[in-house]
């Protein structure tokens, strides 16, 4: 593959007729990736389900109907009913809301805390860098779920605390990725040039470094969403996340466990929902990486050509 093909369009210096911005090129590359498009469609449906959930759900999530309990999938109950006769389809639909909300907010927390830590650490180096990164290493050294459980043990169970716990667990990833990219970018000639033009540290970080490190951060954020949703499911499964009677996929899975032989649909459908959501985020993340990270991309393309 020709390395310059992407940025080399207008390199001859003649004004090029077609103005192709970076964002546009990224979108094009993502849209050419079929898995990423599939992921995007699934995510769009999920977001729609999360927003419209209560209006399109055929039953109320807490509609108890003991007469119809543990019935299999039918036209009345697409995904069957649980031990209290509640409609599993409605509960899975509403569960999307919790999963996405926890995922986005947790990753948001990790971004807001992790990226500035990485920026400061990478840009200033020295003692600040050592302290911040050693703290991140400590967090990173503990298994993610275990750490989240420990944090919830301190904060107490609940959906808000689950978001905070998952956010803390994923902070070091963003700090590290940001720091690594900053270390490369801060040595660029344009950073030196900006400084020689009288820019302050804050301005250099904001206008020159941050925009150049967004690509790996974006990719990591989309992949982290998948992990965050999985983590939320695990925490809810353990009873530390969403509290009853609100439906969450992880909790539905754990409730369904007891009835697995009589009513497998109780566990299967929330399980499938988790798998599909996580895979969708992964596909989108991979697609973004192909578009935003040229080195990784060339590896992937050369593999595809074999």
């Amino acid at each position: 593959m020709t390395p310059g093909i992407d940025q080399g369009v207008g390199d001859a210096g003649e004004p090029i007729a077609e103005h192709r911005s970076r964002a546009r090129a990224t979108v094009d590359t993502v849209l050419r990736n079929r898995l990423a498009v599939a992921g995007l469609i699934v995510l769009a449906l999920l977001v729609l389900a999360a927003i419209l959930g209560p209006t399109i759900a055929p039953y109320d999530i807490n509609d108890i109907n003991v007469a119809d309990r543990l019935t299999g999938p039918s036209t009345a109950h697409w995904f069957g009913t649980d031990e209290l006769g509640r409609d599993v389809f409605s509960r899975v639909l509403i569960g999307a809301r919790v999963s996405l909300l926890v995922g986005f907010i947790a990753v948001g927390i990790a971004l807001i805390v992790g990226v500035p830590i990485g920026l400061v650490s990478g840009f200033y180096g020295g003692a600040a860098d050592s302290w911040l990164m050693r703290m991140m290493d400590i967090l990173f050294a503990l298994p993610a779920i275990l750490l989240a459980i420990a944090i919830l043990a301190v904060l107490g169970p609940g959906i808000v605390n689950a978001m905070i716990a998952i956010g803390i667990v994923y902070t070091p990833i963003f700090a590290r990725i940001t720091r690594g990219s900053v270390l490369t970018i801060k040595e660029s000639v344009f950073v030196r040039a900006a400084r020689s033009l009288g820019a302050t540290d804050g301005r250099i970080l904001r206008t020159h470094i941050l925009p150049n490190v967004t690509a790996p951060i974006t990719v990591q954020a989309s992949l982290s969403l998948a992990f965050a949703i999985l983590a939320e499911a695990a925490l809810s499964f353990l009873g530390l996340g969403v509290q009853p009677p609100a439906p969450a996929w992880g909790r539905m899975l754990s409730e369904g466990r007891g009835f697995f032989e009589q009513a497998p649909w109780m566990a299967i459908f929330p399980g499938v929902a988790i798998v599909i959501t996580v895979m969708a985020f992964n596909f989108v993340g991979d697609g973004l990486r192909d578009a935003l990270d040229p080195q990784q991309r060339s590896v992937i393309e050369s593999r595809g050509a074999e």
Binding site: P15, V189, F190, R192, G198
Partner: protein, 327 residues
Amino acid sequence: MTEQVLSVDDLTVSFGTRLGRARVVNGFSYDVAEGETVAIVGESGSGKSVSSLALLQLLPVPPARVEGKALFRGDDLLTMSDAEIRRIRGNRIAMIFQDPMTSLNPVRTIGYQLIEPLAMHMGLDDRAARARAAELLEIVGIPSPGDRLDDYPHQFSGGMRQRVMIAMGIACNPDLLIADEATTALDVTTQAQILEEISRLQEYMGLAVIWITHDLGVVAGIADRVVVLYGGSIMEEAPIDDLFAQRLHPYTRALLASLPKPGLDRPRRLEAIPGLPPNPVRLPPGCPFAPRCTHAVERCFSEKPELRNPESSHRVACHFDAGELYG
């Protein structure tokens, strides 16, 4: 004599390394007058770039140690506070770097990057800054400048990017422009255009220029005065015509002898200077060039020659007179 813009006195820069203190610039003194072009010439590692980065306090100061004085219009650049030196950078003294391909931020438009120094130093509002940015692109010879402000660096060729860098450099009407190997990465025709552009700007704005290069051909084209640097010390300093007419220092002679000479009947081997530049961690006590000098005698290894003839404009740091050496 015209007024001095910059007066560097006994500039010494060293870096702490694991192997000891690397003395990269050793007592470097020179002046730059208004509207003058001074070329600082030397091999890689002669300290020419480091000495200019030191002027603007652009060296990372824990490993680096900068001593001496650098008076810019009477104020010492080296003792200024962060805020003070920031007001000088890009505003009164601008710098252009070697590699035009990487000196521009790839994710920001040309217009944005041109507007940045204008907003920082001159407090222009968006509209005024944009108008000025277009004017600057026009000054450095970029066609249809208004339309190109929203283009990204990758849509410009190397030569055009270097023109943009120059435009950024002169944006705030500086008194002094430091061009650090500014044309080295460009092909010769582009290089000639850029040199011409800078001479034109110089006349038009009364700009003083420090031109850092290893290319004596470039020096011949634009410089008023040449400072030959070796091992962080001045070997020879002279007005350009004097230097090409009469090279006093063996290093300068060797440097010029190593240039290809066009117009000879037969291609000849280039005369490289044998040996390597001195290791800044273990600088010889005598003349830094002595180990590679064909004329060196014992005294050259033990005693560092002072710059002589300081009263005239042609100065040289050698124990010998040219007459003694070259007959």
